[in-house]
């Protein structure tokens, strides 16, 4: 799945949409515009890549409400907010809500492009990381009950002998499980194993 990163521009003002679309295209960025947050949400999903650039004040769903909705739907796109008046309260609410950045209208084009580029690469990095985690979690899922237990105990820093006592099996058997587990998880060192066990902890906790 290789989707080109897109800037999802949301503003109720037609002229702003038109002007920013033109400008972004001229700067070589792919953008798509929506006249309301509701319309944008209909299009956005977890596979969308790029970032959201939205006006704060709109009839219907506001920019902050859109930000909250994007977070709750785990769309995972960085959100850049546009506002006509950067009052402290709104800025704080936006940043607390997890906004990537906050820009004041009228926008300096260079700053806009800079912020959007950063947002897109941040999204790509985040996406990459999520993909990696998913692969590793998939690998962990192939482990048997015993292999999983060995992984957990290794992650706690236990030695083979201690694991054997803990699981009431022979140290020799532990060695076998350990080797099979490391092969399945594509781990070459104990350090990798510990990292994987942390991932296991994180996923089982969540």
């Amino acid at each position: 799945m290789n989707i080109e990163p897109t800037i999802y521009l949301i503003d109720d003002d037609a002229a702003i949409r038109d002007a920013l679309m033109l400008l972004l295209n001229l700067r070589g960025l792919t953008a798509e515009s929506f006249s309301s947050a509701e319309l944008a949400l209909a299009k956005l999903n977890r596979d969308s890549r790029g970032c959201v650039l939205t006006d704060l004040r709109m009839p219907g769903m506001s920019g902050l409400e859109l930000l909250a909705e994007i977070n709750s739907r785990e769309i995972n796109l960085p959100v850049v907010l546009l506002t006509a008046h950067g009052d402290v309260a709104t800025t704080r609410a936006a940043l607390r809500g997890g906004a990537f950045d906050f820009l004041e209208k009228p926008i300096d084009e260079d700053i806009l492009v800079d912020v959007l580029t950063h947002a897109i690469s941040e999204d790509a990095r985040g996406h990459q990381k999520r993909l990696q985690t998913e692969t590793q979690l998939a690998r962990i899922n192939t482990l048997t009950q015993r292999e999983r237990q060995v992984l957990t105990l290794l992650g706690r820093g236990l030695q083979n002998r201690e694991i054997a006592i803990e699981l009431s099996i022979s140290p020799r058997t532990v060695e076998v499980y350990k080797a099979r587990m490391m092969e399945k998880l594509d781990c070459s060192s104990i350090a990798d194993v510990v990292k994987m066990s942390l991932l296991l902890d994180g996923s089982s906790r969540s």
């Binding site: 109720d12 003002d13 037609a14 002229a15 702003i16 949409r17 038109d18 002007a19 920013l20 033109l22 400008l23 001229l26 700067r27 006249s35 309301s36 509701e38 319309l39 004040r57 009839p59 219907g60 769903m61 506001s62 546009l82 006509a84 008046h85 009052d87 209208k105 009228p106 926008i107 084009e109």
Partner: protein
Amino acid sequence: MHGGRSLSSRDLFTRFIQATRAAMVPHSSTTQNSVKPVRASPWVIALYFAIHVALDAVSYVQPVLKLGITPLSPQTGLVLAFLYAYRGNFWWVAAAFLVSEIVIRGIPMHFWILPLQVISITAIYQVAAWLLRKKVPMESVATLSGTLKFIAVASATAITAGTASVGLYTLASLVPTDQFASALARFWVGDLNGILLLTPLLLRLADISLLLRAIVTRPAAFAGVLFGLLAAFTLVFLVGNPGDLRFFYLFFVPAISAALIWGIPGFLLAALALQISLVAGVQRLSEVAPLVDLQFLMSTLLVTGFALGAVVTERENSARLALQREKQLRDSEANLARASRAATTGELASTLAHELNQPMTALVSYLRASEIMMADGSRTDARLAPTLRKAADEALRASDILRRLRNFYAGRDPQLESLELQPIVEKLVEALRRSERSGVESIVMRIDPNLPPVHADRVFIEVILSNLIANALDATTGLAEPVIEVAARKSDKAVHLSVDDNGRGVSDQIQGDLFKAFITSKSDGLGVGLAVSLSLAEACGGELHLAETSLGGAKFEFVLPIDSERRESP
């Protein structure tokens, strides 16, 4: 007799005044301070001593039975004021009584009476001063109740002191028993007048200085009171039969006038002038009425004037207080108004910033885009010309917002003209559709093709209609199938232009205040739209009201008068 007062004695006088005022201060704040006795400085004591003896000497007129019971004892007023201000000077007061007694009246045959009399009288005045400090502080002698209490204390003091003195004389058989009552009356009236006149005068010198300033502002009234005193004096002592006191009541006119004009301080000053002239008159003229009769009349005058003055002073004070409170209230109201105006202005500024930033943002972006297109000099981008035109449009849009705002504030008069409604409505809706604002596609128009011309202001109609449509758009945002119906129909005398929608409708909560400014259900709205619309509708001679919706949301109806109707009516 004070004509030759030297510089140093004037100094002394000033000190006395200052000390008196200083002694007054603790009473105005706390009464607890009065526990500590206050002693006068030697200079003040010396001054007191001198004045005490001098007053006694001056008023030594028509004594009875050569015992020194005069019908006037101004020194008692001084003594009470002195003991009120400096409560630790009992023995000095006793000494002053003793010395003036010996100097003026000589040592009586039964010399043992003298120390007894002096000590008992001083003690009585000490108690009176204590009573005044505790119960009737001088500041309260500005209200009627305080003044009446003060008169009561003065009267009781005089009668007690009189009983003690005359009783001693009677015991010593210096006064025949059958003359006890008349001697006591003389004593009483003399002491009472002395206290009533001098004690408040001496203790409230600050008021007197205020009074002098008040007199300057009303010289005619002052001249009138002065003339009245002189005229009454002339009539009582020079024209009328001196033994006949019928004319005494003439003194009431200037004295009570002073009380009515300047309150207690004014009355006291007039009464002082009167008392001085009485003593002078009695001493000058060979045949006059007995001073004691005059003094009884004087007491009546003093009590009456005092009470009247208190009423006036009290009313003045309460009027001043009311004025102060009113000013405070006005100040706080002004502050509130300023605060709410500031808040409104702030909100307005923020709305304006948002409104203006929209075209500005688009304008800046179009111009930057044009710049980028032109930077590639090799070929001309076909998009350049339309982009520049759009930039110009945005600049016009910004200036249009400013013009609308200016008109809103200028509140210009309506320019009523005969107008065809249909093209105005169609043009406006068309412009809205071009704006691509979300929801505009849901606008349906239902306009009677045979509408008569209306008599109204074109801009006002546009503002009202765009406001109503904007409200409808807001109310229907997020609906799956928003419907906004702009309709126009005619009735007998008017054209009904309405905007109906299937949105949220108007909550009961704000329905009553719907057309008031700053009432809004929108979190980001200013709440002036309908208020402005209503005033514009009324300025056209029309109406704007909430009507029965047929779509389920809210229907606003703007009723415009038909043009022909206008022409027929005068």
